[in-house]
C-alpha cells in the first residue's frame, strides 16, 4: 500500500499509516517532507518504505518493524527504539538511536551530534548502529550497552571519524572504529583496544549487513583495522561520593 505524504500534517499522516497497517503489512510513503513521528510507537512485523526526508523522531519507541528511508533523516531517528531495523540511505541528523535498546540502524553516510547516546542492552537485546561515514561530537555519550560501528567511508582527508568528547560517560557496550581515532579525542572513561576474534566476528556480521544494503564491497571496508573502544568501568562514578 502506498501513501502519499505531500504536505500532510504528521498527525494525519500517522493516522493514515495506522489505518493502513490495520490491513497491510507493507506500506510505502512517498513524498515525505519533514513529517515528524513517522512510525512512532509502531509495534509488530511491519515493513515501511519511506521516500523523501522524514522529520524528527522517526520510528521512536518502535518495536519490531523494518524501516527503509530512501533519503536523509532528521533528528532522533530510532529514539528509544525497542527492536526492528532502520536503514537510512543517506545521513542522519542529531541523536539517532538515543537510548536505543534493541534492533539495528544502518546509516549509509554521516550522523550528527550525540549519536547512540544512552544506548542500553539487556540480555539478548543488544542494539547496534552502523555508521558508514563520520559522526559528530558526543558519539556514544553515557552509552550503557550495545554496539556502534563507525566506518568513516569517504572521510575528508584531515577530518576525524568522530567529533569531540567522544564516548563521554560511557559505561557499557562497545564502539568499533575503522582506522582508529587520536587518543586526545577519547574520554577518560574508556580505553582503546585491538579487536580480538570475537570482535571481528561481530564486525564482519554488521559489515555484511551494511554492504548488502548499500552495495559496498566488503573488501574495501575491511582493508583497514578496527579499533575497539570499551569503558574502563561499568561504575564510572562509584567513588565520587561520601555518605552522610
Amino acid at each position: 500500500m502506498i501513501i502519499s505524504a505531500n504536505s500532510k500534517h504528521y498527525q494525519n499522516l500517522n493516522e493514515d499509516l495506522r489505518k493502513a497497517y490495520a490491513k497491510h503489512k507493507k506500506v510505502t510513503i512517498k513524498d515525505v517532507n519533514g513529517q515528524r513521528y513517522i512510525g512512532c510507537g509502531l509495534k509488530g512485523d511491519y515493513n515501511l518504505d519511506i521516500f523523501g526526508t522524514p522529520g524528527n523522531d522517526l520510528a521512536a519507541y518502535m518495536d519490531g518493524p523494518v524501516v527503509r528511508v530512501s533519503g536523509n533523516v532528521q533528528d532522533a531517528a530510532g529514539n528509544t527504539m525497542g527492536s526492528g531495523e532502520i536503514t537510512v540511505c543517506g545521513s542522519a541528523g542529531d541523536a539517532p538511536g538515543y537510548a536505543m535498546r534493541g534492533g539495528t540502524m544502518y546509516i549509509k553516510s554521516n550522523v550528527g551530534y550525540r549519536c547512540g547516546i544512552h544506548m542500553k542492552e539487556y540480555k539478548n537485546s543488544r542494539p547496534a548502529i552502523v555508521i558508514g561515514g563520520c559522526a559528530g561530537s558526543f558519539l556514544g555519550e553515557y552509552m550503557a550497552g550495545g554496539i556502534i560501528i563507525i566506518l568513516g567511508l569517504d572521510k575528508p582527508r584531515d577530518a576525524e571519524i568522530a567529533g569531540y568528547r567522544f564516548a563521554t560517560g560511557m559505561h557499557g557496550g562497545v564502539i568499533y572504529l575503522r582506522g582508529g581515532i587520536p587518543k586526545a579525542r577519547i574520554s577518560n572513561e574508556v580505553m582503546a583496544l585491538a579487536c580480538d576474534e570475537d570482535d571481528k566476528k561481530i564486525i564482519s556480521q554488521y559489515i555484511d549487513g551494511y554492504c548488502s544494503r548499500f552495495n559496498y564491497d566488503r573488501k574495501d571496508i575491511l582493508n583497514e583495522e578496527f579499533v575497539k573502544i570499551i569503558p574502563r568501568s561499568k561504575r564510572p562514578y562509584a567513588n565520587m561520593y561520601a555518605y552522610v
Partner: protein, 499 residues
C-alpha cells in the same frame, strides 16, 4: 583515628532488656552487637542513624535513641553537622551525598498561612451529613465545550484522569525504593482511587495488576521505557527535574541493580544507572514539545502527558513554556521534596519553596490564559492535609506526596536512603531488608493515610462553606498569611491575617 563524633547515643535499660537479640538482627548498620561468649549486648553508637528500627522492634521497649550529649563546643556558625561533613570530606574527597529532603531551617510557608472558616453568613457545611466532593479530574481542559442539539458533548475532550481525592503518590522508582514499597503504594493507590508513579525505573511485572493507576515516567536515561511501558501507564510523565536536586540527574549506583531491578530497568546487573540532568535531546521548549508529542503519537493521544520540573527561580516562565509545549499536566516539585540520593549541597541550597513557585506559576498561567490547558500538580513536602488544602487554594489541581507515604510505611526520616541499608525495607534492594516491608500491611497503612487526609480535607472544606474541591482551587481568599512580609504576601497572592 576517627574524627567523627557519634551523632546519637543508644540507652539500653538493662533491667528491661531480655537479651532476645532482635535489635542485633534487625540493625543493618551493625549498631547492636551481641558478645558471642557472654550474650551481652553492646552498641556501636557511631553507626547509629536514628532510624528507630531497634526501638520499634524491641519487645520490651528497652532502647532509647538520644542525641549524643557529647558535643563539639557550641557555635551557631560551626555546627556539628558542618564539622562532621568536613571530617568526612577530608577523609574521602567525595561529594557529600544524602537522602530524603532538605532539612535546613528555611521558612515553611504552609506554617505561615491560615485557612478561613465560615461564620453565620455563607454557613459552614457538615461533611458528615452533606455530600462533599474531593474527586478531581486531571488533564488539559478545553477552552469551551459545545453540545449538539441532543445535548450531547460535541467537543473532543482531551484525555482526563479521575482521582477520588486530590492526592497522588509521587515518583519513586523501583531501584530507589524496594519492590515491596512500590507494591504497597500501588495497592494503596488502587484502593483509594488515585495514582502512583513508577519514577524512572520501569514497571515491574508484579505491578502489572496496578497499571491502571500507574503514572509511568520517562527521564533522560529512558530506563525501562518501551512501547508496552508507555501503553500501560495512565499518565506519561516526562521528568525534567526533581525538587530535591534541581539541575542534577539521577544516579542509581550499580550495587542496587540486582536481578529484579536490572530486569525492570532493562540494563545489566551491577551497572550504574545514570540519568543525567539534561535530556540530551531537549535544549528548548520546541525540543520538549517534540518529546511530548512523540509520546502522544506513540500512545495515540490516549493519555495525558505530564512534565515535571523542579521549582526554581524562573519556574513561572518555564511552566508557561511547558503549557505551550503541549503538556497536559505540569508538576512543580519544591525544594523540600525528597530523594533517594542527592548531593547535600544541591539538596540544601538549590531551588525554591513550592508555596512560592506554585503561587507564581498559577498566577502566570492565569495571566496568559493557559491555566485551563494544563493541570497543575504540586509536590515537595506536603506533610498533612492542611498543606494539601493550602496548596490547592494556591492553585494546584492536586498534590503529590512521597515522604508522607513512606513515613506511613515506617520511614523514620533517617536520611540514609542512599546507603541502601534502609532498615524499614523501603529504600533498599537487599532482600533481607526488603522482606521487612509486607505490602499487605503497608498498603493498608498508606491507604489509611490517604483516607484520613481525605476526611480532613472534607472537614476543612466544610468549614469554609465549600462543598467541592473545585471551588477551592486557586481560591486564595480562603488563605491569610501570618508573619510574612508584603513581598511574600504579594508572591503568594494572599492577604495578611486580619485584613
Amino acid at each position: 583515628m576517627n574524627f567523627l563524633n557519634p551523632e546519637f547515643q543508644i540507652i539500653r535499660d538493662k533491667d528491661r532488656c531480655i537479651k532476645c537479640g532482635a535489635c542485633v538482627r534487625q540493625c543493618s548498620y551493625e549498631v547492636h552487637v551481641s558478645d558471642k561468649d557472654t550474650g551481652e549486648l553492646y552498641t556501636n553508637d557511631i553507626n547509629c542513624v536514628a532510624c528507630h528500627r531497634c526501638t520499634s522492634i524491641c519487645p520490651t521497649r528497652t532502647l532509647t535513641v538520644k542525641k549524643n550529649e557529647s558535643v563539639y563546643r557550641e557555635s551557631a556558625n560551626w555546627t556539628s553537622d558542618y564539622i562532621n561533613q568536613i571530617f568526612r570530606q577530608a577523609e574521602t574527597g567525595g561529594v557529600l551525598l544524602s537522602g530524603m529532603s532538605n532539612p535546613q531551617p528555611y521558612p515553611i510557608y504552609w506554617d505561615k498561612i491560615l485557612l478561613n472558616a465560615s461564620q453565620v453568613t455563607n454557613p459552614s457545611i457538615d461533611p458528615l451529613r452533606e455530600p462533599m466532593e474531593t474527586r478531581t479530574y486531571i488533564g488539559a481542559k478545553p477552552d469551551k465545550i459545545e453540545f449538539d442539539s441532543n445535548g450531547k458533548l460535541k467537543t473532543k475532550m482531551p484525555p482526563q484522569v479521575k482521582l477520588e481525592m486530590p492526592i497522588m503518590f509521587s515518583a519513586m522508582s523501583f531501584g530507589s525504593i524496594s519492590l515491596n514499597a512500590q507494591k504497597s503504594l500501588a495497592a494503596a493507590a488502587q484502593q483509594c482511587g488515585t495514582l502512583f508513579n513508577t519514577g524512572e525505573g520501569g514497571l515491574h511485572e508484579e505491578l502489572m495488576p496496578y497499571k491502571d493507576c500507574a503514572i509511568v515516567q520517562v527521564a533522560s536515561g529512558r530506563f525501562g521505557v518501551s512501547k508496552e511501558y508507555l501503553d500501560m501507564g495512565r499518565i506519561i510523565e516526562i521528568k525534567i527535574g526533581q525538587g530535591a536536586k534541581p539541575g542534577i540527574g539521577g544516579h542509581l549506583p550499580g550495587e542496587k541493580i540486582n536481578e529484579d531491578v536490572s530486569k525492570t530497568r532493562m540494563i545489566p546487573i551491577g551497572t550504574d544507572a545514570i540519568s543525567p540532568a539534561p535530556h540530551h535531546d531537549i535544549y528548548s521548549i520546541e525540543d520538549l514539545r517534540q518529546l511530548v508529542y512523540s509520546l502522544k503519537e506513540a500512545t495515540n493521544y490516549q493519555k495525558p502527558v505530564s512534565v515535571k520540573i523542579a521549582a526554581v527561580h524562573n519556574s513561572a516562565a518555564i511552566a508557561s513554556g511547558i503549557a505551550r509545549a503541549g503538556a497536559d499536566i505540569i508538576v512543580l516539585d519544591g525544594f523540600r521534596g525528597g530523594t533517594g540520593a542527592a548531593p547535600v549541597r544541591i539538596r540544601d541550597n538549590v531551588g525554591i519553596p513550592i508555596e512560592l513557585a506554585l503561587a507564581a506559576v498559577d498566577e502566570r498561567l492565569r495571566s496568559e490564559s493557559l491555566r485551563s490547558k494544563v493541570s497543575l500538580i504540586a509536590a515537595g513536602s506536603f506533610r498533612n492535609s492542611a498543606d494539601v488544602v493550602k496548596g490547592i487554594a494556591l492553585g494546584a489541581d492536586a498534590v503529590y506526596i512521597a515522604s508522607a507515604a513512606l513515613i506511613a510505611m515506617g520511614c523514620h526520616m533517617c536520611r540514609q536512603c542512599h546507603t541502601g541499608k534502609c532498615n524499614w525495607g523501603i529504600a533498599t534492594q537487599r532482600s533481607d531488608l526488603v522482606k521487612r516491608l509486607n505490602p499487605e500491611i503497608m498498603s493498608q497503612r498508606a491507604a489509611n493515610l490517604l483516607t484520613a487526609w481525605n476526611h480532613e480535607i472534607k472537614e476543612m472544606l466544610g468549614g469554609m462553606g465549600i462543598n467541592s474541591i473545585d471551588s477551592l482551587r486557586g481560591n486564595r481568599l480562603m488563605l491569610r498569611g501570618i508573619g510574612l512580609s508584603q513581598k511574600e504576601l504579594d508572591i503568594l497572592g494572599i492577604k495578611h491575617a486580619g485584613e
